[in-house]
């Protein structure tokens, strides 16, 4: 883990999101899919805490060697500031942070389920899985087409892909959960990886439990620091020996967890994520910090 001052090389708009390319060779060299960085906010503003950004890509070779890619959803003051970052400005980054995805050696058929910009971390994983000789299939979805991250990239990385939007503006009408059973059959999935809003991941976890599919999910919990000192981003996770559970820090013990061990009811029980009356289609989820 390093703290670096990384130059923003370029930014571009991707539908509702913004993609940032940042020069940070010390982080790019070590970064693995599922890991993230914590970006410092500007001085003199009322939003103080670092923002955590999943690593979308880390280039180690070629013309872009030493760069990191991030996808930002400008939903709050911090992410809006990041989305407006200009080329040749600098970001103070700490990373790579957290534990990334693991892939079992024996299992070859991987189904990746991504909702909204959760796809950022899974496309990075897909590249690593393909390099390891695995089969990759995907289910990618969001409320509307401008929130489906790089659908063409999804097609390029996977054997088959289901694209789902709540309003039917791209792919099929529905949610990633609607497409999940068919995609699992079609891909002969042996392992499932998922990223996106917690309420979706909970249901992906239930599906995997039903089908006895091993899975890994990248969780988001509100973080104070991102590197383990503040003990605020905890997720209740059952102990392996069945002797109860621990509140584990998503930043150092996650953000990737085995969903079969996450105590979803305890975690999401009274959690202020969903609107009292979700609008038609997907439940609206506010990721935080914004």
């Amino acid at each position: 883990m390093k703290r670096v001052r990384g130059e923003v090389l370029s930014t571009r708009k991707l539908g509702a999101y913004h993609q940032l390319t940042v020069v940070a060779p010390e982080i790019a060299e070590k970064a693995r899919p599922g890991q993230f960085v914590a970006a410092q906010m500007p001085e003199g503003r009322e939003f103080l805490l670092r923002r955590q950004l999943a690593i979308h890509e880390a280039s180690r070779r070629g013309g872009w060697a030493g760069t990191l890619e991030f996808v930002v959803d400008p939903a709050g003051p911090g992410s809006t500031w990041l989305a407006a970052a200009r080329a040749h400005s600098f970001l103070d980054l700490i990373g790579p942070l957290g534990k990334g995805f693991a892939h079992p050696r024996r299992l070859t058929n991987c189904l990746l389920v991504a909702e909204r910009h959760g796809a950022a971390t899974l496309y990075f994983l897909a590249q690593e899985l393909l390099a390891a000789g695995k089969r990759v299939d995907m289910v990618v979805g969001a409320e509307t087409l401008d929130r489906v991250l790089k659908p063409i990239e999804a097609k390029r990385l996977s054997q088959t892909v289901s694209i789902m939007t709540a309003d039917g503006s791209l792919g099929d009408r529905g949610t990633v959960l609607d497409a999940l059973p068919e995609a699992a059959d079609r891909s002969k999935a042996q392992v499932v990886y998922a990223a996106g809003p917690a309420s979706t991941l909970e249901r992906v976890a239930a599906f995997c439990r039903e089908r006895a599919l091993p899975a890994q999910v990248a969780l988001e919990e509100r973080m104070g620091c991102g590197f383990g000192i503040c003990h605020t981003c905890v997720v209740p996770v059952a102990r392996k020996d069945g002797s109860g559970y621990d509140n584990l820090r998503a930043c150092v013990d996650g953000p990737v967890f085995n969903p079969a061990r996450v105590l979803w009811d305890r975690w999401l029980g009274e959690r202020p994520t969903m609107l009292p009356t979700p609008p038609e289609g997907l439940p609206v989820v506010r990721s935080w910090p914004g």
């Binding site: 410092q40 939003f47 103080l48 919990e221 509100r222 503040c230 605020t232 997720v235 506010r286 935080w288």
Partner: protein, 316 residues
């Protein structure tokens, strides 16, 4: 005489700089490796340790507010036995003087906590987290009450082989009286202080922002409240060293606290944002001392120029 950043707090407690890492913001001895050289930090206050392990508050545990946060961990910690075995030696090896924060719900718990720490040579001082509920007298905050503060501090101070700092809640209505009582009962110094309780609301869901509903306020928004509390306490117990905590982010903030009467400062939220903050703040204090022709941080202590005749302190 050579200019120094060291601070002699008395009773053999000398800190290399007047800037410490506040309780709950220094990790468990692993996390800050590579992010800050803890040998250049004035001290590290451990997270608050209870007798038994605690899982802590339900998530979410933090929400951002204007220039601050509302947070609570619900005192998540491994319990005193596991702390002494694993976390304490790691914290000590990291290189900064270690102050152990302990939290109890009863007099007996505090006594047993100090008992478990008594023989440990790694500990520079003890800080009493007094903001937990009082389980014996069924009060929300133990340390807001003069009777219990005196009782707990008295028992702990008699047992402890290292200096004891009582962390008093800055929002307590009887703060000066609490300070007098704690010092009379044997506290070597005071940490000013425990943060005020706070609430965050998420209008989109009609729910509290935190899983535990209420939490504590932190961050720069808090600084004027801390300053006033330090100022008032320093006037009633001028002999006791005060560790100021709450809203300190820059060297200037720290100098303000020293002028108001603190002997050293602790930084918390600033470390989450910038792990080198305690080192940078100390460097900034050194610059300020040089500029003013002063030799040591304690030369700034309580030097705030208050107009003559300002509210006299009444002795009880």
């Amino acid at each position: 005489m050579k200019r120094t950043l060291a601070v002699d707090l008395g009773a053999g407690l000398v800190l290399p700089t007047p800037v410490l890492i506040a309780s709950g913001c220094g990790g468990t001895g692993r996390e800050l490796t590579g992010l800050v050289d803890l040998k250049k930090v004035g001290g590290l206050v451990s997270r608050s340790i209870t007798l038994e392990a605690r899982k802590g508050a339900p998530p979410p545990r933090i929400a951002e507010t204007p220039s601050g946060t509302v947070w609570t961990t619900g005192l998540q910690n491994p319990g005193i036995a596991a702390f002494v075995d694993g976390e304490l030696p790691r914290l000590a090896r990291a290189g900064a003087p270690v102050i152990v924060s302990v939290a109890g719900g009863s007099l007996e718990e505090y006594v047993r906590l100090i008992g478990a720490l008594q023989t440990r040579p790694e500990i520079a001082a003890i800080e009493l987290h007094l903001s937990a509920p009082d389980e014996e007298l069924h009060r929300d905050v133990l340390g807001e009450h003069v009777d219990r503060t005196g009782e707990v501090v008295g028992a702990v101070a008699r047992m402890s082989l290292v200096p004891v700092f009582a962390k008093l809640p800055i929002a307590a209505s009887e703060l000066p009286e609490l300070a007098r009582t704690a010092v009379r009962a044997g506290a070597h110094g005071l940490t000013i202080g425990g943060p005020p309780a706070a609430l965050g609301v998420q209008t989109s869901t009609l729910r509290p922002a935190l899983g535990a509903v209420t939490g504590w306020m932190s961050g720069p928004a808090l600084r004027p409240l801390t300053l006033r509390a330090v100022f008032e306490v320093a006037r009633v117990v001028p002999e006791a060293p005060i560790l100021a905590v709450g809203g300190i982010r820059t060297a200037e903030d720290a100098v303000e606290m020293l002028l108001a009467g603190a002997s050293a400062v602790q930084v918390g939220t600033a470390v989450l944002v910038d792990p080198t903050a305690p080192v940078e703040i100390a460097r900034g204090i050194a610059g300020y001392l040089k500029e003013k022709g002063l030799m040591a941080p304690l030369d700034l202590r309580a030097r705030l120029r208050v107009p003559a005749g300002f509210r006299e302190v009444e002795e009880p």
